[in-house]
Symmetry: C2
Subunit: 932 residues, 2 copies
Amino acid sequence: MQQDLYFFGGGKAEGRGDMKDVLGGKGAGLAEMTNAGIPVPPGFTIATGVCLEFQKEGGQTPKRVTESQVTYLARLEELMGKKLGQADDPLLVSVRSGAKFSMPGMMDTILNLGLNDESVHGLAKKTENPRFAWDCYRRFIQMFANVVLNLDKDIFEEVLEELKKARGVESDTDLTEEDLTGLVDTYKQIVNDHAGQSFPQDPSVQLAMARDAVFSSWNNPRAIYYRKQNKIPDDLGTAVNVQVMVYGNMGDDCATGVGFTRNPATGEKEFYGEYLVNAQGEDVVAGTRTPQPIAGLEQAMPEVYRELREITTRLENHYRDVQDFEFTIEQNKLYLLQTRSGKRTGTAAVRIAVEMVHEGLIDKAEAVLRVPAEDLNQLLHPRVDPAKRPTALATGLPASPGAASGHAVFLADDAFKQAEAGKPVILIRAETNPDDIHGMDAAEGIITSRGGMTSHAAVVARGMGKPCVAGCGSMRVDAKAKQCSVGDTTVSEGDWVTIDGSTGELMVGRADLIEPEIGGEFGVFMKWTDEFRKMGVRANADLPRDAEKAQSFGAEGIGLCRTEHMFFGEDRIRIVRDMILSAGEFKNLEIELNAAKSDLKSRVGAEKVRVEERLEKIKEAIKEPSEKYLGSLSKLLPLQREDFKGVLKSMAGFPVTIRTLDPPMHEFLPSAQELSVEIAVAEERGESSPELDDKKALLSRVEHLHEQNPMLGHRGCRLGVTFPEITAMQAQAIIEAACELKQEGHDVFPEIMIPLVGTHKELENQRHVVDQVAKRTMEQRGVEVDYLVGTMIEIPRAAITADEVAQSAQFFSFGTNDLTQMTLGFSRDDVAHFLPEYIKKGILKEDPFISIDQIGVGDLMRVAVKRGRSVNEKLKIGICGEHGGDPESVFFCHRLGLQYVSCSPFRVPIARLAAAQAALMARKPAEVSAMA
Amino acid sequence: MQQDLYFFGGGKAEGRGDMKDVLGGKGAGLAEMTNAGIPVPPGFTIATGVCLEFQKEGGQTPKRVTESQVTYLARLEELMGKKLGQADDPLLVSVRSGAKFSMPGMMDTILNLGLNDESVHGLAKKTENPRFAWDCYRRFIQMFANVVLNLDKDIFEEVLEELKKARGVESDTDLTEEDLTGLVDTYKQIVNDHAGQSFPQDPSVQLAMARDAVFSSWNNPRAIYYRKQNKIPDDLGTAVNVQVMVYGNMGDDCATGVGFTRNPATGEKEFYGEYLVNAQGEDVVAGTRTPQPIAGLEQAMPEVYRELREITTRLENHYRDVQDFEFTIEQNKLYLLQTRSGKRTGTAAVRIAVEMVHEGLIDKAEAVLRVPAEDLNQLLHPRVDPAKRPTALATGLPASPGAASGHAVFLADDAFKQAEAGKPVILIRAETNPDDIHGMDAAEGIITSRGGMTSHAAVVARGMGKPCVAGCGSMRVDAKAKQCSVGDTTVSEGDWVTIDGSTGELMVGRADLIEPEIGGEFGVFMKWTDEFRKMGVRANADLPRDAEKAQSFGAEGIGLCRTEHMFFGEDRIRIVRDMILSAGEFKNLEIELNAAKSDLKSRVGAEKVRVEERLEKIKEAIKEPSEKYLGSLSKLLPLQREDFKGVLKSMAGFPVTIRTLDPPMHEFLPSAQELSVEIAVAEERGESSPELDDKKALLSRVEHLHEQNPMLGHRGCRLGVTFPEITAMQAQAIIEAACELKQEGHDVFPEIMIPLVGTHKELENQRHVVDQVAKRTMEQRGVEVDYLVGTMIEIPRAAITADEVAQSAQFFSFGTNDLTQMTLGFSRDDVAHFLPEYIKKGILKEDPFISIDQIGVGDLMRVAVKRGRSVNEKLKIGICGEHGGDPESVFFCHRLGLQYVSCSPFRVPIARLAAAQAALMARKPAEVSAMA
């Protein structure tokens, strides 16, 4: 026969910790703790099956249960030596729901059950605090009326508010015992008036009604909704837990407190916590009295202290994790009210995991699974001392983690100059562009009012490992006036400001920063992760110093080296601009030339002569810019060769994936708007000069090259296909660099990556250019270089046609930034206009630029892997979008079977840990749920 | 035993027309014609199998074939009464390849085989044209040397050029008989010197060598490449056709000509063609002599004429299609050299198809399959008289079909004014924007220097059915100076220009235009298409007049009514701007409000007070713009209601799909660049006024709303989700319009379409708004309206997650313009920078904005249909991208199982025909190949 009730108390429980089906999560936990000898307040659990019968019977608890309950209550009363609701020393209980799966706040709870017009006096006497007793009683009436009798809470709240107004007080706590006594009368009257019955004084009636109310709450609308959302079956039912209430405020032999078995901030193995004598749990939390460090309890109640230490140590050993516990001492008797795994900082998590392995408490695999990968972030960046955190003036996007303080500056040049002079500065801009690089490099941190998580500022700052807040929309920046404002608050140049790139906050003033401390445990821990992970971890790095930083963090190569960032140096941008301008012109003429040539075919006589003349003129015109253009390219070649030598050398022994030129041309050009204004003003002044004419010509070219949607425009391999000379120059620079390094004795493995491929023919075309140049260069240099040619998979069509693309690719690298942009139709630079609202309204669960949209983008990735490998079983596939550093995305990549992930240097440890966890989760299904 | 040789001639052939495997395509055709009693020059075919043996034997023709060949040649000589290469009246033959599948120009051909030092005299005598005979001989030597002996053609060409230079003549035809005789000697010497053998004088040796050369040419590199490209198997081999040469230039009893069995321009059933007495085929084509109308032949050679008419009629009946034939009369004997289906204009195609059905020659299904759908375009737009076509000055994209002439104007206002004054004008712009609508409407045609096939100008012009050339990059437009230039040619305001939107050409001057003539056959034909097609055809139309035009073309509803075009009217754009500007401001404040509210929670004491004060200020600030914003919306409501009444009424009885607001906000705003210039100039002048301040404020808002990639920005349902009031207003206007029309007795079926959905939650959100408003409105009006709510499928993610999206959608409509943009990562406004080169380089076969990219975009469509119908088997799915009017895309949509296509009004007949063809092709697989 099925058992309906399960007792726990007196060191023994009828249930067990693995009986969640029957006892619900809370009931099973109470049984487990009781059996482990932990002194939890005793009680009994009514099984989930009873709830189902209750529902089936249309809201009737079976008679046999009601009868058993009398026996169980008697047993509890006997154990406690008190009777429910008796007048002098009343037994009071809580009645709580507890389903198999946690449904926080969805169902009902009733506290202090057993209070009535008589027992309230007993509670007052025992606690020597009549005010407390009457407050408990009026709260109990309100809770009971609301939960059991379905009265509106507001009726009671209104009465309470009126009373406070009448007494001229602000807070509930300012009401006197007399006020509360009167309030109890009023509340009872309200119940009488609205519920059609009086408030039940019989504690056993209270208990029966409360139990049934909890059973009913299984089917309240919010519980049903919650189950639907969380895919919890409707036919589980909830258990009901009836548990003795204990009080820490019954005199000086009472106390209450909270604690941790290890320091949750540092991870140090120390008994850590606070307590208050003669107090309730609320008092510890509310801050009305200052709690004592738990060490004080050793003097005050040495016996109890020893018992607490012994018990909590047992708890930690039992659960094999740091415990965060609440306790109450009622008349020298210790009760543990709650215990759970303790939340901890990243630093603490690592230290605890490592020490627990050394103590033999857990194994390495479990240690690795214990530390949330994202939490390592805290170990890698400075942060604001939480104890002295200034108020946030405004909040933007947390674009690059870490905190920084400095003097506000509004121009890159100012940032550069002041930093040179030794002043720490924060660069504040509406948005940044390549011209600002030197200022960004000089600043401690960057904040912009526009742009998203992958705006220029964000990407560059993350690459530099520098704090950045982006898209801080409520901040208005006036660079001319060298100030910015949020509401009425104005920040002028030189003012101290602090930004927190981990939270997106802007603060006025200088904050105390805590520098990252990477202790010895961190190194040990990271080594363990490498024992488990299956995927390689590379870094996205453009410069040797970034590559070195990445390697120090354990990167095993570079997954993305963006060559365009190399073009932005002061000395180069001019050459690049020259190249683009003349190339564009040259290209345009070439199109005209071809048009004229084809026109010529269909012409005779005088017309033919006319077209021929035109053809000659075009040919003449082409000559000069063409040379200018090729000249620019040849000026870039030696510079690029040195760039690549630097990066390849700093990652010698590992593969380095170098992407050919990717961004739209106009990113290298001045702004049309600014040029127009300069020209209009000069004309208004009546100026006229060759420079002005040049400016006008420049404007005309810039406007010609202007694109409505540059992200979907003439960029990526489209540049390489239309200007093969650029790809050829870059390939030559890469192979020359590799040849020279090999001759110097370095092992180098360049992987040349073609961006923005949408059709296999683009890749074929570009690979042909690269292979031709490589062959010629290696022959000239007499050196063989192991190089690969592969492609980004970042356009949906490339994913869909991966079987075609794979025929020319030696590797795939998912560019999930662009793939997300195109699959979702989201411009990452512009999402700030609607994404925050989308997340607020629940349309998206999270920013898809941070964590891969597994259903949409992920489906294309799955298709690409399947189709790509259908052609080339061993195709090397990785990811170099910024998602490569996001733990959830790393798990997903592992499930897809990728060979590596690549992320910004500062996220390499996170990716290593996530990769290890992904491998372990695949290995140990049981531990997956432990992680969740 | 397998037969190696097949004779044809004397009214009988050993082979048959269905023996392409054995005889190759050409050989089978010759056999078929011979058996049908058509007098083709006789000959024999050496089977494809021999070619395979030849290859296997390493280039040896089997002995048994060589032996049979002697017999067959003898039979041919007997039939013709001449011997190969005999001195006085020589038999001459051609030797040609002919594989199962046509491989034009890939393999070798030799003409006039049998000529040698003796027979050349015979030919001279018979043709009474020694110059011709010697020219044939020297060409034969050159061809033989090149094809059979592998000598370089250039060696001979150089000698020829030198000779012409020496003689001081320009053309080959200016060389005399003596020149040619000398040239033959030189050519023979060249063969001696370079081939290591003398030119073979023995005709049977010539024949054997030529045959083997043709067999060898099956494996020449260009044939192999061609087969690879066209997926033709390598193991088929080619046949060799040896056929008697006939001459139309042997005297006045000889002639040559070409003809059609019906007029290919008009389709009229008349014997149509030209001929020349005593001439070669070349003479007819080259235009050196003026050919006579074929009717003249009736007088000149009545017998032969009658035979020709009889034979060609037989040919038409045999092939059941218009025949385009070539004939030669050699000494009163008629030979048909070639016959094939005749190319015809769209007009002719329709007339011929209809008349052939009436004649009982073909059935309706075949008639429908016979007319290429795209060719109907010619019936629907004016075109330039091809006889008097001006030279093209420049060529852009053929953005909207039809031709137009008018006076050049450069500003929309000028276009409007001059058109009002009765002058036809062509509007020339760098690009158009919504402010230009009135000018575009007034112009005969539009040409722009920027933008692609789906730029504003292109889309609007197609909607208006007006010719448009877009992206004419070589044209530079200077609107200020009211002129444009291409190279040195400048067009000023008032100059006559002509544009051809079907070819993309810009011409200087006024052209003669041929107006479309839609005869009675066209109507009959279109009715037949409706008998076969399975898919509905709707039109994309925003205005009642477009809807009416569409209906007159047979549209069965509107598949896309864009509401934003309704916003661009002079009176409305101001209201819309007001709305956007205040809405944006309001929205910004709301975000700040929420930030402040959430900030408040974590603050206490003085800080809390500060945040509270801020909160109050924001609340205060929100009030005013919010009212302004809602005020603008309520001003738009009645205007929109009237818009919708117009469109719904004009399509009464049919469904009308109305899309909620789609474009990015900034499309309604002035340009930041222009505003900056105005402000800078005003400031330079020292001006200061409230208007200037307003302008500055406007600039700041415009810049705030600026987006890097508006196509992927805050648009589509993202507007509706963030500003639900806009969707609500539009839904209300639609339902109110429908209610009023129903009360007036009209049947209306509005389908409300939510654009740019990427996640099912967006659709849920918007559908909820629409349904709420619809319910309320219908209750208020007391009318029930049958309305649907569905979504565009235009974001890759929507296609991928169609099973989720379909749960809230009552219909899907593929927005293949945007779907193409995002799947390929192509901004349609910017592709002009690289797409032409992509097509030139073969990276793409065609513009994916014209014909659906079936491999990439099509795969997503397939996924969407499958997943959408997995949830809702009967889900209505259509397409409203511009591909809906492209025949190939219509075929594809039929194969996907869509219920309807929707296209611009002027393409409705094309879509109807294509839909019928798609249904027929699915039904009759044999006829699919007939179409190809």
